[in-house]
């Protein structure tokens, strides 16, 4: 029964309206939570004993780092679904997630650098987490480059799927080798709980921001997957029958 409804929505045609109705809700909730979280983080949370005011960037840095990893796991999940069940939508979801994941990884690197500068005096430190994040960013870029370079969408989806799975299996290996490399060479460490323990408000703010980014990621992915569906299925009758397509072709919307 459950699996029947699961596969019911695996057709792009049926998923398109579902995604269309739901993404605005996710966007609104994400915005509301982000405002609340940022207010808590910037105005309510106390000044850190060791790091002063500059530490507040962690309210963006930590959630966005978490999201970059969660999104990669989600991509690996969709890749596995796509390769096992050969459904078109799985590949589209995987492709839709990639840009958001890459942006999260990129933001994580920038906010990490901005956080590190006041603490260490340099714009970059070869900290284990930051370095792993950099490699994760390259994994995202590789996926996007590969799927863009292959013309045939089915091959692009499946090749991307293989790459995402191989990457996902390697992420723990990469993380632990980089951690080993960092500790062995006594490298710098940029850490949230350096010294002081976490104040309750700080934790709340971080969790709220994490959920906000998560909802944002869902909203962006659903919005993007609709565009991908339209592009891939443009030759089908149901796409031609869509009101937005008809309006475009009659020139009502330019």
């Amino acid at each position: 029964m459950f699996s029947k409804s699961l596969f019911y929505f695996s057709s792009p045609q049926r998923f398109y309206p579902v995604a269309g109705k739901s993404w605005p809700w996710f966007a609104v909730m994400a915005s509301a939570l982000a405002v609340w979280g940022l207010w808590l983080g910037i105005f309510v949370a106390p000044t850190d004993f060791q790091q002063g005011e500059g530490y507040r960037i962690i309210f963006v840095h930590v959630p966005v780092s978490w999201m970059s990893m969660i999104i990669y796991l989600a991509m690996a999940f969709w890749a596995l679904m796509g390769l096992t069940f050969n459904t078109r939508l799985s590949g589209m979801m995987c492709s839709a997630l990639a840009p958001t994941g890459a942006i999260c990884a990129f933001l994580s690197l920038w906010t990490g650098a901005l956080w590190g500068k006041p603490m260490w005096g340099t714009w970059w430190v070869w900290d284990a987490r930051l370095t792993s994040e950099l490699i994760l960013f390259f994994l995202y870029l590789g996926y996007i480059a590969l799927t863009n370079a292959i013309d045939d969408p089915r091959r692009a989806d499946k090749a991307g799927g293989i790459l995402a799975l191989v990457g996902a299996l390697n992420v723990p290996v990469i993380y632990f080798s980089v951690k080993w490399w960092n500790t062995l060479h006594q490298g710098a460490s940029v850490s949230v709980t350096n010294g002081s323990s976490m104040d309750r408000t700080m934790l709340d703010a971080m969790l709220i921001m994490a959920v906000a980014f998560w909802l944002y990621a869902i909203a962006m992915t659903l919005y993007r997957v609709r565009n991908i569906i339209l592009a891939r299925e443009r030759h089908t009758q149901w796409v031609a029958d869509l009101p937005e397509m008809k309006a475009m072709s009659t020139g009502a919307i330019t």
Partner: protein, 222 residues
């Protein structure tokens, strides 16, 4: 099994009749090892310290540049199709191709490494570990690179794309390979690093031919 060795023999015979493949990898390795001191400066203490990284990166780049050629020729003349139709299964034949490719592009680097290591004044025990780490590491690099080569077969911008795909996956090998030599030089002993490297190579030996074969079938479908 005879199909496996037939492919190994065939690929090596073909390369021997052309010779370009072996020379390119070796030449690149030598050039990189010579360029780094020119860029860093001739201070022997610095060079000795950075030698493990430099030599490992040189070998890694040489491997990476040769990966694009692994499947390209067979794909172009239709031999890859025939391999996909083999009763032995494509994975076995892919493993054979990777082995042949390593013998031609990886093994020469392993043999050359101690000689280049002397240019950096590495002590004898470090030279041994360097050679050993490359002996285990270069097959690992070939195996990982094969997946990238299979995914980018026949794709525009293939070689550069291959490098982008494969470099993040090469990082653990580099860390433990160069790390082994550094550990030996600092007196800690390289056995832990070499064990991890060996384990990664064994896992890759099982997993990579299968993943590469799946990617090759994708390329043959289009």
């Amino acid at each position: 099994m005879s199909a496996f060795w037939a492919i190994v023999r065939r690929d090596i015979t073909l390369a021997m009749r052309r010779k370009a493949e072996v020379i390119t990898a070796v030449f690149f390795f030598v050039v990189v090892a010579a360029l780094f001191p020119l860029g860093i400066g001739p201070d022997m203490a610095t060079l000795r310290l950075t030698a493990p990284g430099i030599l490992w990166i040189g070998a890694l780049l040489a491997c990476m540049l040769s990966m694009g050629r692994l499947f390209a020729a067979d794909y172009a003349d239709g031999t890859l199709e025939q391999m996909a139709l083999s009763p032995n299964g494509l994975s076995v034949l892919v493993a054979a191709k990777i082995l042949a490719h390593w013998c031609l592009s990886g093994l020469p680097l392993v043999l050359l490494a101690p000689i280049l290591g002397l240019q950096f004044d590495l002590p004898t025990n470090a030279l041994w570990v360097l050679t050993l780490s490359l002996l285990v590491g270069t097959p690992l690099l070939s195996l990982i690179g094969a997946i990238g080569a299979a995914l980018t077969l026949g794709v525009r911008g293939g070689d550069v794309l291959l490098s982008l795909l494969v470099l993040p996956l090469y990082v653990p090998a580099l860390i433990f390979g160069a790390g082994a030599v550094q550990a030996e030089m600092s007196g800690l002993g390289a056995s832990a690093h070499l064990s991890v490297l060996t384990a990664m190579a064994l896992v890759a030996a099982v997993f990579s031919p299968w993943a590469s074969a799946a990617a090759l079938r994708l390329a043959l479908e289009s």
